[in-house]
């Protein structure tokens, strides 16, 4: 079985995990491409370690440069192990008009962050999003891929609090 919780895994483990993921991907996908392989890795490991870049390059027959070019182009890939929790705040025009900045600033000050990024102890990270797709319920945030709509500063902070310190 693939060990998804790979934080302590060594480089050779990561290579093996990636190879297994790609094998599994080939079995179910109608066709495989550099992008589909990278998405598969991101989906399962929640980041793309450099070992995976190399393995995807070997597997698809492309150069490391090519694979890296694709990986760095799409903004949903990350290259360092993810924090335990990830909060995304939408700053698209609808959410902006409905008060997304208040929510964003409140979350940033709670987490002690000034922009995007992870808090130093790796418990939680913040990411901007340009549209989470629930515009009719703006402002929208997403915590660990669960979307919450029609948030206010208070509800956003309580969702965050519940995530960090589940009651």
């Amino acid at each position: 079985m693939i060990d998804i919780n790979n934080k302590g895994n060594s480089s050779s483990d990561l290579r093996e995990v990636t190879r297994a993921l790609l094998q599994e991907h080939e079995n179910v996908a109608p066709r495989t491409t550099v992008l589909s392989c990278l998405l598969e890795v991101q989906e399962n490991l929640h980041y793309v370690p450099e070992e995976a870049i190399v393995e995807v390059a070997k597997y698809t027959g492309h150069s490391i440069n090519d694979v890296w070019g694709v990986a760095s182009f799409y903004t949903n890939f990350r290259f360092t192990p993810p924090p335990q929790h990830m909060v995304e705040v939408c700053w698209g025009p609808t959410c902006h008009l409905l008060g997304a900045m208040d929510v964003l600033v409140a979350i940033q000050s709670k987490l002690g962050l000034e922009g995007e990024g992870d808090v130093p102890d790796g418990v939680i990270g913040l990411k901007y999003n340009t549209c989470l797709g629930a515009c009719s319920q703006g402002p929208v945030i997403s915590v660990d891929e669960k979307i919450t709509g029609a948030v206010t500063v208070e509800t956003a902070l309580s969702v965050l609090e519940e995530t960090l310190n589940p009651s």
Partner: protein, 584 residues
């Protein structure tokens, strides 16, 4: 009618009849992304538990969004006693009361009732009179919210795949193409190019491998109708693809969705799986000699990947950067094979056009814009949601009769239509009709159908900065007019927003904009100046107050000095690139 379809239809009719059995209560709850964001899944769970606890024979289905998102979570209940009624918002705490009142006691006079679909009930409006619902004309959305997208038989029971059956058993590909041509259908992705003409380009291209791509990248903030259709009624898109493939002689269909939108992805994949199982996709469809394969392709986050040639690059697994044309996709498309790209909305009209005839569709709409517009209303508007209205309605009617006006007694100031590249439109142009040409003449685009309303507390400079920040971040970087132009535009508008702008900045921005329009490779750069240009045209006052008086007319710009701003590649990616492991 093919034998295979006749069998499917009779099985589907049985399933449909079972759902309408007098002994069964059928509860439909909208659980697309808008509903899930306010815990519609919790409502589904509670309904199941409450009905089981009372021992009521029932089916609780997760359906697409009926579009009245302002009243979500929406609950649609059908019992033999009260007929079919719609309630909302029904949150988790209200479920028990609704079950007691509506299902057990047959009393629909509850505070959160919206209307009744079938029976006349004292004190409850008929749905055909409910504003925002009654004035819609639902063609592409005909099944969204009405059937369980997870059960293809429910689609078949509602005339689903009937058009495919007629096409395969009675029509030639040319006849199907003629119907689409005579319908006057135009692409709903934003360009409004004639669909029949576009398909016609692909017909003479040599086969056997030819592709029809269905674009559900939908990165436009403010629009979620493509995702709404795929999540609520994926089969109509599959049938549209099959008909497009039949008319053009294509062999494969690819539905292209942005990674991370799990609802549309899983529901589309499930619908494709079922369609293969039922012999509706794959080899020898419905027992005829027509074969067509459909797959889902995912793309990473990138706005430009919605552009047709960038989309083909992404399907091939590369970075989503546009190709230069010619060669056009109909000659050299994805994997170098002839291809045709259609938007989700465009394809979802096709089954009804083929089934009811091109003339029928041609009678709907106005001027050269035939059919309906699928609108997503959001921002400062009372009835936020997804609506399908006949083209030809004015923007004022859309705002008042569909959207229910601006909340809080405020005045409307601006509309942001057609996605970030569409720009701003001032409220005094509200008599513009929903028509591609009329919208363009007014200086806006209908685009993908998103309309974001801004009331009088909105500053045009602030919103324009946001749109430019989006466009700058999403520029793919392939051609320099867009890459550099967007960056400079953003620099200048940030300066103006921060109170450090000068009169000369306005002229400089215009000059940059003209170069971008003339020199960019794809629509992103060519239209990327639109937000600024339209804001200059309609809201120059806001800019001048910033420049001359060093203040923001509404105060929105002074509230926060720093705004979200991102660069590509992200900071993490830049750190990684210095790793000696990759340098060696």
């Amino acid at each position: 009618m093919t034998e295979a379809y006749k069998n499917l239809r009779s099985r589907a009719d049985e399933i449909w009849a079972d759902l309408h059995d007098p002994e069964t209560v059928w509860v439909r709850i909208g659980t697309t992304i808008c509903g899930r964001s306010i815990n519609a899944l919790g409502v589904v769970e509670t309904f199941r538990a409450e009905l089981a606890r009372r021992g009521i024979k029932s089916v609780v289905s997760e359906v697409g969004c009926l579009g009245l998102c302002y009243a979500e979570p929406l609950v649609d209940i059908r019992t033999a006693g009260v007929g079919r009624v719609l309630l909302g918002p029904v949150d988790v705490d209200a479920v028990s009361g609704v079950v007691d009142n509506v299902i057990v006691n047959g009393n629909v006079n509850v505070p959160n009732v919206i209307g009744s679909f079938e029976k006349t009930i004292e004190g409850v409006p008929m749905m055909s009179e409910v504003p925002g619902w009654s004035n819609q004309h639902r063609i592409a959305l005909r099944n969204v919210g009405q059937i369980d997208p997870g059960d293809s038989f429910q689609y078949i029971a509602n005339e689903g795949y009937a058009a495919l059956d007629v096409a395969l058993s009675e029509k030639t590909p040319e006849e199907v193409l003629t119907e689409v041509r005579s319908s006057g259908l135009r692409g709903r992705g934003g360009a409004f190019f004639s669909t029949g003409t576009k398909w016609g380009f692909l017909v003479p291209s040599p086969g056997p491998e030819k592709y029809i791509l269905c674009n559900c990248e939908e990165g436009d903030p403010g629009a979620y109708n493509d995702k709404g259709i795929l999540e609520g009624d994926p089969n109509t898109v599959i049938e549209g693809l099959l008909l497009a493939g039949f008319a053009t002689g294509a062999s494969n269909g690819i539905i292209f969705i942005r990674h991370g939108h799990d609802g549309p992805i899983s529901r589309t994949k499930e619908a494709i799986r079922q369609a293969y199982e039922l012999g509706l996709v794959g080899k020898n469809i419905l027992g005829t000699d027509y074969s067509f394969d459909i797959e889902v392709s995912l793309v990473g986050e990138s706005y430009v990947s919605g552009e047709e040639t960038a989309l083909m690059e992404a399907v091939e697994g590369k970075t989503a950067r546009p190709r230069s044309r010619p060669p056009f996709p109909a000659a050299v498309g994805v994997w170098g094979k002839p291809s045709n790209i259609n938007n989700v909305k465009t394809l979802s009209y096709v089954p009804e056009i083929v089934r009811r005839g091109g003339e029928w569709f041609n009678d709907i709409g106005v001027n050269l814009s035939k059919g309906t517009a699928i609108l997503c209303l959001s921002g400062h508007i009372n009835r936020r949601g997804m609506y399908e209205v006949e083209l030809g309605m004015t923007l004022q009617e859309v705002m008042d009769e569909i959207g229910g006006g601006v909340p809080g007694g405020r005045q409307i100031k601006m509309l942001q239509t057609g996605g970030p590249l569409g720009g701003l439109l001032s409220a005094d142009k509200m008599d513009t009709v929903l028509d591609f040409e009329a919208m363009r003449a007014a200086g806006a685009i209908l685009g993908s159908g998103g309309i974001i309303y801004g009331d009088d507390s909105t500053c045009a400079v602030d919103l324009t900065r946001l749109l430019i920040a989006f466009c700058q971040f999403e520029s793919c970087g392939k051609c320099f007019p867009c890459r550099l132009g967007m960056t400079h535009l953003l620099d200048m508008i940030e300066r103006i927003r921060g109170g450090e702008g000068q009169q000369e900045d306005l002229d400089l921005m215009r000059r940059y904009g003209e170069s971008m329009q003339a020199g960019s490779l794809c629509g992103h750069g060519q239209l990327g100046f639109n937000p600024v240009q339209s804001a200059f045209r309609d809201f120059m006052g806001d800019f001048l107050v910033h420049i001359n008086e060093n203040r923001c007319p509404t105060g929105s710009c002074s509230q926060y000095a720093a705004n979200p701003m991102r660069t590509r590649p992200g900071p993490e990616a830049t750190a990684f690139i210095t790793d000696p492991y990759l340098r060696n």
